[in-house]
């Protein structure tokens, strides 16, 4: 691994819903300007980890450090200002607003109107499809186009870190390739991408690093090719833990 400081660090993070604890002391170091894919069986706590990072779920104990600063339990708005953008699973658009206005809402955290307009133009140049449909209702976009809209909206803030949860769900293989290409492009421009993906193989192929979660704990943190080659991965998905986990109360 290179010697660069990690951009995002989780240190023994516990979080969950109500009586359920999902993150059982999750620990991670996310390298800057790289794509890291989080994989693991269902219920391992991948989405929960994103929510905890983005301040949507209280961190019960442990710390989350971003860019050298403790961001545990900061509200989303502060995290946006710090340079983190979160693109959740599923459809996250305002269906009745136009494509342009959907984009614009990604820039609420910016105060200057002119700057927002400029950045919208820039994003639209980058994604001509959005330019074409700028004044249509967002609900008229196809699933993949909506996902691109979401990503584009996230880019409006010029984030340092993008958290993107299962972007490929419900997309055609062609669309998935497009979305992944966009993520690679981001990484090449210095943006750090943290990705959750069901489609582990394909995601790891575009990633620099992989992180394997199980039972809310980090099992493997390594370079992507290394994980791809690891025979234990299939086993992880199809039963049998990686390590025999200690008792969790």
């Amino acid at each position: 691994m290179d010697g660069r400081e990690p951009l995002l660090m989780l240190d023994r993070v516990f979080a969950g819903y109500g009586k359920m604890t999902i993150l059982n002391g999750t620990t991670a170091s996310i390298r800057p300007a790289a794509i890291t894919t989080v994989i693991g069986p269902n219920g391992a706590g991948k989405s929960t980890m994103f929510k905890a990072v983005f301040g949507l779920l209280p961190v019960r104990s442990g710390t989350i450090v971003f860019d050298g600063r403790d961001i545990s339990n900061l509200p989303p708005r502060a995290l946006l200002d710090a340079g983190i953008v979160y693109i959740p699973q599923g459809r996250n658009i305002f269906p009745e607003l136009s494509v342009r206005h959907n984009l614009e809402l990604g820039g609420v955290a910016l105060s200057r109107q002119a700057e927002i307009a400029r950045r919208i133009e820039a994003v639209m140049r980058r994604f001509p499809m959005l330019q074409e449909k700028a004044d249509q209702q967002a609900s008229t976009l196809s699933g993949g186009q909506q996902k691109i809209l979401e990503v584009a909206r996230g880019l409006l803030l010029k984030p340092k870190l993008v958290l993107i949860d299962e972007p490929s769900i419900g997309l055609s293989p062609l669309m998935v390739r497009d979305v992944f290409a966009i993520l690679k492009d981001l990484r090449n421009n210095g943006v750090t991408v943290l990705l959750i993906e069901q489609n582990a193989k394909q995601a790891l192929q575009i990633s620099d690093y992989g992180l394997v979660l199980e039972q809310g704990q980090t099992r493997i943190e390594a370079a992507a090719p290394q994980i791809l080659a690891d025979p234990r991965i299939a086993q992880l998905f199809l039963g049998g833990g990686l390590l025999q986990p200690e008792q969790v109360s």
Binding site: G43, G239, P245
Partner: protein, 247 residues
């Protein structure tokens, strides 16, 4: 052996997208069938169609040879089909014991006899035995909401057995349950199965749990059955690995 559940060419689409796309299978008496598959493969939709929560677009469901497609969930339950839920679904304000009695009372007598009959609908002893069986006796009088997550999962399973069902559909019984509780739950399910010769269908992500419990496994991907067989065989099946890990 008699098939308890028969599903024939079941389809269900939402807005043109087929979530379940022509699934057929059957479950024989005394079997424990596991259904696995990656996220979004249509497992829950399949369950909901079988249980009457959703009306299938086409195809049919039979229980003990009787066509049940389109039946209301409550009528299905009274035919002997019961279920557990993926997320916690007990009645938190009722006591643990009342939760169990509730789960059986509608199988006793009529509306009128339930009003004028005994408060526990004659199920008190049955409930106590069930509490014993699932080691919940200690909490009998407590509101179900005060139980820990895993205990509530146990209670959820116990409720499914209260009416002595023909067929139990378990929807992710292990989800969110810690390991100690998990082995306890598995052990209890197995014990119940052995004792009553019950028929189970289990949806589960926790593979270890599935592999240990089930006698046969179906693998669902993109709304279709892509593999079927004994747990160990399914696990080695390259098609299954592919489905889980992507292309």
């Amino acid at each position: 052996m008699n098939p308890v559940l028969q599903v024939a060419d079941l389809r269900k689409s939402f807005g043109g997208i087929a979530a379940v796309d022509g699934v057929s299978f059957q479950v024989d008496e005394g079997e424990i069938l596991g259904i696995i598959g990656p996220n979004g493969s249509g497992k829950s939709t399949l369950f909901n169609c079988v249980l009457g929560q959703l009306t299938p677009s086409s195809g049919e469901v039979r229980v003990d040879g009787r066509r049940t497609t389109g039946m209301r969930p409550c009528d299905l339950n009274r035919l002997g089909v019961s279920r557990t839920f993926q997320l916690l679904q007990v009645f938190p304000q009722l006591s643990v014991r009342d939760n169990l009695i509730l789960a059986g009372q509608e199988h006793q007598g009529s509306m009128v006899s339930r009003l004028f009959g005994r408060a526990d609908a004659g199920l008190g002893e049955g409930a106590d035995r069930m509490l014993d069986f699932f080691r919940l006796s200690h909490f009998a009088a407590q509101p179900a909401g005060s139980l820990s997550y895993g205990q509530q999962k146990l209670l959820d399973a116990a409720m499914a057995f209260m009416a002595g069902p023909r067929l139990v559909l378990l929807d992710e019984p292990a989800g969110g349950v810690n390991l100690t509780m998990l082995s306890h739950l598995r052990e209890r399910l197995q014990a119940y199965h052995a004792e009553r010769k019950a028929t189970f269908v289990v949806i589960e992500h926790q593979m270890e749990f599935v592999m240990a419990l089930c006698t046969r496994v179906l693998v669902l991907a993109e709304g279709r059955i892509i593999a079927e067989g004994a747990p160990a065989a399914v696990r080695r099946n390259p098609v299954v690995i592919e489905a889980y890990l992507g292309h």
